[in-house]
């Protein structure tokens, strides 16, 4: 078994729904992701009266997600219209940070 295969088999453990992963709807597709709730934030958007910014960070298998999303791409996460703030790839996993401008 190659190193790549070992990593892939570890990923299957992490992204197992009975372990860490949960199913979320992203752009109309049900995907198994790991949401890092510790990083979920909401802060006031100073520049615009009445707007606050919500953030969510999640991990998803690159092979399941597909093409790496670019910064600024609109993305609908569980019905919330968000956009990609940042995306990194590490060992076949995307770490994606989404932001959402929310009204009062």
């Amino acid at each position: 078994m190659s190193f790549k295969d070992t990593v892939q088999s570890d990923l299957n453990v992490f992204f197992n729904l009975d372990e860490f992963a949960e199913t979320r709807t992203i752009d109309g597709r049900a995907l198994n992701v790991i949401v890092d709730n510790d990083r979920l934030q909401q802060r006031s958007q100073k520049e615009y009266d009445g707007i606050s910014v919500g953030e969510i960070l999640f991990y998803v298998k690159a092979s399941e997600f597909g093409e790496r999303p670019e910064q600024g791409t609109p993305m609908i996460f569980d019905g919330r219209q968000m956009y990609v703030f940042d995306c990194r790839e590490d060992d076949g996993v995307y770490e994606i940070i989404l932001q959402q401008n929310r009204g009062v």
């Binding site: 958007q45 520049e47 615009y48 009266d49 009445g50 707007i51 609109p74 609908i76 019905g79 919330r80 219209q81 956009y83 959402q100 401008n101 929310r102 009204g103 009062v104």
Partner: protein, 176 residues
């Protein structure tokens, strides 16, 4: 006439002439597939704080906010520079589908923003004396902010208004 009275006269004017003529999308931050239209609210100063909407108001946004940039009084003329901020929620294109609402995000929300601004400017140009007390002066200017907090869109309209000057002191009148 006090500065607050001027702002409130403009609020009443916009409530009568602009708000009933326009329907815009109500924000749906938690479910983008929910789609409903509302008349824009008219605020003075700032948006009301979260959870404190005035009675009968469905949503704080979309809205027009009547605000004050600055004011001057040189003893001859008293002028107030008004800034109307315009806020709309326009994330993309909604169409009725077989199983609900189909939605495609786009960055065309500025169309809604500019249409509200155009309508407001047209009403201001048609009614340059408001409530018999506030005289709108030229130029009326408008624009959009360079960066937009998508799916919300922000723009502005500015213009000066004239109001009656405060009476000068007797001693000043004699010596000036």
């Amino acid at each position: 006439m006090s500065t607050v009275s001027v702002l409130e006269a403009l609020q009443s004017f916009l409530q009568e002439k602009v708000s009933p003529a326009i329907k815009l999308q109500k924000p749906s931050d938690n479910n983008i597939h929910e789609y409903s239209l509302v008349n824009p609210a008219i605020h003075v100063g700032w948006l009301p704080p979260k959870g404190y909407l005035p009675e009968g108001m469905e949503s704080a946004i979309p809205c027009l906010i009547v605000g004050l940039d600055d004011a001057t009084d040189d003893g001859q003329d008293s002028q107030i520079n008004i800034r109307i901020s315009v806020v709309v929620f326009s994330p993309g294109f909604h169409t009725p589908g077989e199983t609900g609402v189909n939605y495609i995000p786009d960055f065309k929300g500025y169309h809604d923003l500019l249409n509200v601004i155009d309508r407001t400017v047209a009403e201001l140009m048609k009614n340059q004396i408001i409530d018999g007390k506030v005289a709108i002066q030229m130029p009326v200017k408008w624009g959009m902010y360079q960066e937009q907090p998508y799916p919300y869109w922000y723009g502005w309209i500015t213009f000066p208004v004239k109001k009656q000057t405060y009476p000068t002191a007797e001693i000043a009148r004699q010596f000036l």
